[in-house]
Symmetry: C2
Subunit: 148 residues, 2 copies
DNA sequence: GGAGTGAGTTGGGATCTCCAACTCACTGTC
DNA sequence: GACAGTGAGTTGGAGATCCCAACTCACTCC
């Protein structure tokens, strides 16, 4: 009764946004590039794959197509609420990449309204303390039914 | 001079941890499963692919192999500093998955030392305010050399 | 009338994944 | 001392994906 892969929201999330190019397409929308050709250019993905990724992101409710021109019909991709909520994932991933992967200075820099360069930090929503690994303990973890 | 894909730490990070199964393998190490067969079982990845992923994660300095038995030599995978730093990415991804993908209650629950269930929140490291999209502006963004 | 643009679609080859079976070096069991 | 079991991979072949360039279609602009 404890067989099969772990049932986990990380795995579930990856099923939706984990394919190659999905996250980069979303990054582009965050960065303000909302149209197909811009996203193609800025990500480097091939057009057919990007078509598939965008379609899936729309189907799963992360992006929406919005008509911006009627003749001929042209759509741009905008974030839904679920899409906007990915902001924090992207931000932390970027910060990690800046520190441990990218050589040289961060290629992308944001400023926060407070006036400083934006550096994201993850805190516990209750006590507002930075989350450290040693301060967290696993309470419960379930599994998916095994196939045996 | 502004051609080619965007130079971005998200893309760089994805090159290192973005392949299928990499992040789930790392999740397992975070969750305490450090051995090959455990990771195979808990992720559902095939053994050959997992071999390749773990090897790459070791090469890129996210995991380390540590000998835990000499005859026959057996290794377990442990996080390096770079690996530990991915904690925040995983945590935010899990929180997003809990809210927008997983149906029903979160399959995995953590408790913080403060006594409450752990809910991650991303704040600006300077002003400690929660980061909202409208409060951030892009200061600078570079590109990789184009191929034309 | 012809070039240009935006948003895809199509075809074919290259690459990557999946799965089951196999290996190898042991350990413990009768 | 023969045999089942385990841990950590490796190998081979079929099938699924991905990449790229070329093509389409519906326009607009000159």
């Amino acid at each position: 009764m404890t067989e099969g892969p772990r049932d986990c929201s990380i795995a579930n999330a990856m099923e939706v946004i984990g394919e190659r190019w999905s996250l980069l397409a979303l990054r582009e929308v965050f960065f303000g590039a909302r149209r197909f050709d811009q996203i193609v250019r800025n990500t480097g993905a091939s057009r057919d794959i990007l078509t598939a990724r965008l379609r899936k992101l729309v189907e799963t409710g992360i992006l929406e197509k919005r008509l911006y021109e009627e003749h001929p019909p042209r759509y741009e991709y905008v974030l839904t609420e679920a899409g906007h909520a990915l902001n924090h994932v992207l931000l932390n991933l970027m910060a990690w990449g800046d520190r441990y992967v990218t050589e040289g200075p961060p290629p992308t820099v944001w400023r926060h309204t407070c006036g400083e360069e934006l550096a994201p930090e993850t805190v516990c929503a209750h006590c507002r303390e930075p989350v450290r690994e040693k301060d967290m303990t696993l309470v419960r973890s379930s599994r998916r039914a095994g196939s045996s």
